[in-house]
Amino acid sequence: MRVCVKLTLKRSVLDPQGEAVKQSLHALGFTGVDGVRVGKLVEIDIAETDRDAALAQASRMCEDLLANTVIEDFSLEVS
């Protein structure tokens, strides 16, 4: 089963990378861009057929390694 982990910076955390991308988009003429936040996507193939069990494992992986919960939120999706 494949679980997609979406990692995003918490709203309260400044994202200088997103700011730089926003400025670049403005320079390209996309003047309507109000905000950009850059995150990460991690796809994990888990040898597991039960959806909830796979999600529970992925959630533990996020707590233990994939996310820095000081600054990041994560969301999970089975695909």
Partner: protein, 225 residues
């Protein structure tokens, strides 16, 4: 003083840190290089150094994978038992990832990799690392990082201030760090994480000796402990 320097794939300041520790402890300094796959630190250690570099290519987040290396479990136990640990640059990032130090190091505010000399104010002399300095004294050490922008929540910053756990502050913050913080201490004051590189300023021929004073502080404090 018996020290260990931990080496990860991508560490690049490990040898410099060894030389700094060796030359600070003029007599009987014993410094071992320990590969990250070792599961135990050697017995009888006084001090552990986590060097700078780009451990595991900075994949995922700087220091994230190194912090979960087999040896780091033993380093955390060592620190929890009251052992002395310094983490420099990537070493600081690794220490925050283990939870031994609070906060995190984010991308520099200006998005640039910064490699240059900085001025630092010594914010506390109440530690083995800073007891050779004067409080408020300005020293010069180089930085070389892309992720040195220290961030933490307001409550933790308040506690760091209140307990005088900020070791060094930038005189003119190069990377956007909250509170101009360049280095912090653990609550027992025996773990120091800092972005600037003291191991690169241990000899006049390579730009200065302010870093050597930090290592001399450690050796002196541990010898009298």
């Amino acid at each position: 003083m018996r020290s260990a320097v931990i080496q990860f794939p991508g560490s690049n300041c490990d040898r410099d840190l060894m030389v700094a520790l060796e030359s600070a402890g003029s007599r009987g300094a014993e410094v071992q290089l320990i590969w990250h796959k070792e599961s135990r630190l050697p017995p009888g250690l006084d001090f552990v150094g986590i060097p700078g570099g780009f451990s595991f290519g900075d994949y995922l987040r700087c220091g994230a994978i190194a912090a979960r290396s087999p040896i780091m479990r033993s380093v955390v136990e060592f620190a929890v038992r009251g052992g002395y640990v310094i983490g420099i640059c990537n070493g600081f990032q690794i220490l925050t990832e283990t939870g031994l130090l609070p906060g995190t190091l984010m991308r520099n505010a200006g998005m640039r990799f910064l490699c240059r000399e900085t001025e630092l104010a010594v914010a506390t002399t109440e530690s083995a690392f800073t007891c050779n300095f004067a409080k408020g004294e300005v020293i010069r050490l180089p930085i070389a990082h892309h992720e040195g922008n220290f961030r933490t929540d307001a409550e933790i910053e308040r506690r760091l201030d209140q307990d005088e756990r900020v070791a060094f502050r930038y005189v003119d913050t190069p990377n956007g760090a909250q509170g101009d913080i360049a280095g912090i201490l653990s609550s027992n004051r025996r773990v120091l994480g800092m972005m600037p590189h003291p191991e690169r300023r241990i000899d006049p021929s390579i730009g200065g000796t302010d870093g050597a004073r930090l290592f001399a502080s450690i050796v002196g404090a541990l010898a009298s402990a």
